[in-house]
């Protein structure tokens, strides 16, 4: 389940704390009139809106395909949402396709209503729900309610039991983290790498492991020190973790948090090299950027748009990595040498050809064998989606 979107708290806090500052400063709210007339004030509030209401409801139904995309955070977060928004922007260029977007939609009934509004008021035919928590129950309920509309969710949750007009799509980003690991392993002199991670859940652990395996493939002594912040979005703690890892000697920093912005900027300021995550952070680190693990949602979005505009049927479940051009690595930054670029390009070619990263024998970082000799788990193996260990070479613990 390659996504990192289970972060509704972040959305809530981000949106509401600024207001809180305002109301907090009001202090001594004494003298509360409880006159029954005060209620008229509320009526007044309603009256304004009624007054502002002009006639004419114009449903903007486009003749072609209308695709609605819902994001849990801002579209310019340098992370998960931006990766989708970049693809949405490109999709808008496709003739006959109208793209409508909503950002900062929390994983509550608000997302049901956003989807419904896109269908009712804008005539959407296809909805991309891009946050993990949108799926159950919100998207499923909407799929039952609107059987003629297609719904697709950016995580591998769809099963045969779910409505047939719903589905899942997701990408094996850990393959791009593997390439990051190769770049980081070659760029560091002492083989000391740092990883700022949100929560010890399978999708995050898989990225840490693949990054480590990439680094070890070019530098067997490489060590990846990991710090879990415990939250999807906690900029202060992310900056602290980055600084702590650098103080401990890390030469390259990467991360798996909602928005890698703070991590990349902090490392750049300290003169430390970085690898990105989710979207392109290359412009945040003009000196120290190597490359980054990026989703390539556009491949999927274009595929789906093509199918629907030509009258075909959408698949319920698509997934893939480098083999299907669903993931990519950010264009090399200034810190990437020719040697690094060559090694990364070779790794990408191998991954496109179906190279398997998880091959036995493999031990976790407590010395326990997790994959016996002779066994391998390819990218499509659901075993990887249950990852609960950190591979040998990672300094840190999941608990």
């Amino acid at each position: 389940m390659h996504d990192d979107t289970s972060r509704p708290g972040a959305a809530g806090r981000r949106t509401f704390l600024p207001k809180l500052g305002g109301s907090g400063s009001l202090g001594g709210a004494g003298g509360f009139s409880l006159d029954r007339r005060t209620l008229l004030k509320g009526a007044a509030a309603g009256a304004l809106v009624a007054g502002a209401g002009l006639s004419g409801i114009r449903p903007a139904r486009a003749s072609g395909l209308t695709i609605g995309i819902v994001y849990v955070g801002p579209r310019d977060d340098y992370g998960w949402n931006q990766a989708h928004a970049v693809a949405a922007a490109a999709l808008k260029q496709v003739p006959g396709v109208t793209v409508i977007e909503e950002e900062n939609v929390p994983e509550t009934i608000a997302v049901s209503k956003s989807m419904e509004s896109m269908i009712e008021l804008d005539g959407a035919n296809l909805i991309f729900a891009t946050s993990f928590g949108y799926y159950d129950p919100y998207m499923l309920e909407m799929a039952k309610k609107f059987p003629d509309v297609q719904f697709r969710h950016a995580a591998g949750l769809w099963t045969d039991a779910a409505p047939k007009n719903a589905g899942s799509y997701f990408c094996y980003l850990d393959q791009a983290h593997y390439v990051d690991g190769i770049a980081a392993g070659l760029a560091s002199k002492a083989g000391k790498l740092g990883f700022v991670a949100a929560k010890p859940i399978p999708t995050v652990l898989l990225n840490i492991n693949s990054f480590t395996l990439g680094a070890k493939s070019v530098n067997p002594d490489a060590k990846v020190q990991v710090v879990f912040t415990g939250e999807w979005s906690m900029p202060v703690r992310e900056a602290e973790a980055t600084n702590a890892l650098i103080d401990a000697g890390a030469e390259v920093i990467t991360c798996h948090v909602d928005s890698p912005k703070v991590v990349i900027e902090t490392a750049e300021r300290r003169g430390v090299m970085t690898c990105g995550h989710n979207a392109s952070q290359a412009d945040l680190a003009p000196k120290g950027f190597l490359t980054g693990a990026e989703y390539k949602w556009l491949t999927i979005y274009k595929e789906f748009a093509d199918i629907l505009t030509t009258g075909g049927t959408l698949p319920n479940f698509v997934r893939g990595g480098y083999d299907k051009d669903y993931v990519q690595n950010t264009a090399y930054g200034a810190a990437s040498t020719d040697l690094i670029r060559a090694a990364c390009e070779q790794a990408k070619a191998e991954l496109r050809a179906g190279k398997v990263i998880y091959q036995g024998p493999m031990k976790d970082n407590t010395g326990k064998e997790v994959i016996p000799a002779g066994t391998e788990h390819d990218a499509y193996d659901v075993w990887l989606e249950q990852t609960s260990f950190l591979v040998d070479g990672v300094v840190g613990s999941t608990s």
Binding site: D35, R36, L39, E102, E107, G133
Partner: protein, 368 residues
């Protein structure tokens, strides 16, 4: 029958006339000043839109269509208003005693968690009505204890209730995270830590005929009940006296401590009820989706309602409508989501500034 009885004021006829004129004047004032403030906010916001090169006319039309223009829009608005009513009550009730509680979100989160926790072992064995009842009791109880604790700290130790309730919100999140990531984690949901589902049968469902859950009518009913409690009972009177002047209240022998704890507990119960409806009507389980910011939006609603429980539902519906229309505005005008936050902020600031206008206009008989 004397004039005094007939006009219902208990005053002599002439005085009654004056009293009524005064009342109508002030009613008009309560209507006109917020309306004026909203118009000023709309004007300022229009300037903001013009500065961005956008059309204010289109914006307000979309606000109308998305919030109130269709039956779907109305349901969208109402469903977003329901939690705001409860969380606004969590601010409004302690405000009668001069307490500023801003941590209702914490009571909402823990109330929702308690509802899920109590439902899980019962799901499938006990009848749904009993499960729902116990969920409700648990949610209200935990919410009441949580904010009641803030009142107790205020009374017993002199801890500032605003800061205490805010900081306790972070403790509440930690408790939620601990429970859903630890002891009660549903193993089937590894990437989104969550409790198991309470089961479809134990969900409270919608009001028949509309796509709005029971939280809305119950919230409105609760507003009426709490209005009566605060305006028509000894408790409410004592609370308001305390809010007016604590020393005078103490001098009169009012049990200020008990009043503070009771009011904060009622407030917490309201916020807990919001959590109950989030779990029982929407999510069907407890997870971090409970932290959606309703508690903080409720602060805004309560202040705009001037902490009057009866004014809370219409203000909540105004804000529910702004939230409901936000998506349409984003989609049609290509504006960022923050646009709606700017509008809310402007309304808040202008309405608070307009507080100074009360009693200044002769036309309303303003001699106060």
């Amino acid at each position: 029958m004397s004039d005094a009885v007939r006009d219902g004021t208990g005053l002599p006829a002439g005085a009654g006339m004056a009293e009524w004129r005064d009342r109508i004047g002030r009613s008009a004032e309560y209507l006109a000043i917020p309306l004026f403030a909203l118009i000023v906010s709309a004007a300022l916001f229009s300037l903001f839109l013009l500065a961005l090169g956008q059309s204010p006319g289109q914006f307000f039309q979309l606000l109308w269509v998305g919030g109130y223009g269709t039956s779907f829009s109305w349901q969208n608005t109402l469903v977003r208003s329901a939690p705001l009513i409860f969380t606004a009550l969590c601010v409004a009730i302690p405000a009668q005693l001069g307490l500023v509680i801003i941590g209702g979100e914490g009571a909402l989160v823990l109330g929702g968690l308690a509802a899920a926790v109590i439902a899980l072992p019962l799901a499938g064995t006990a009848p749904p009505a009993i499960v729902l009842f116990l969920m409700l009791v648990a949610a209200v109880g935990v919410g009441a204890v949580w904010i009641g604790l803030v009142g107790l700290l205020r009374y017993g130790r002199g801890v500032n209730e605003t800061i205490a309730s805010l900081l306790m919100f972070y403790i509440a999140i930690s408790i939620l995270n601990f429970v859903v990531e630890g002891p009660l984690r549903d193993p089937a949901s590894p990437n989104k830590p969550s409790t198991a589902s309470i089961g479809e049968a134990n969900m409270i469902g919608n009001v028949p005929g509309i796509d709005v859950h029971w939280g809305l009518p119950i919230g409105i009913l609760l507003c009426v009940l709490l209005y009566l409690l605060m305006s028509r009972t000894t408790f409410g009177f004592a609370a308001r006296v305390t809010g007016g002047n604590v020393r005078a209240a103490q001098g009169q022998g009012l049990p200020v401590g008990k009043l503070v704890v009771a009011a904060t507990a009622i407030a917490g119960g309201c916020a807990g009820l919001a959590g109950f409806f989030e779990v029982a009507a929407i999510h069907g389980k407890a997870n971090a989706s409970l932290i959606a910011g309703y508690g903080f939006s409720g602060i805004l609603v309560s202040f705009l309602a001037r902490h009057n429980p009866l004014a809370i539902p219409p203000v909540a519906i105004l804000f529910g409508g702004i939230a409901a229309a936000g998506g349409l505005v984003q989609r049609r005008m290509g504006l960022p989501d923050a646009t709606m936050v700017v509008l809310q902020g402007l309304i808040f600031v202008v309405l608070l500034a307009s507080e100074t206008l009360y009693g200044r206009f002769r036309i309303f008989g303003g001699k106060r």
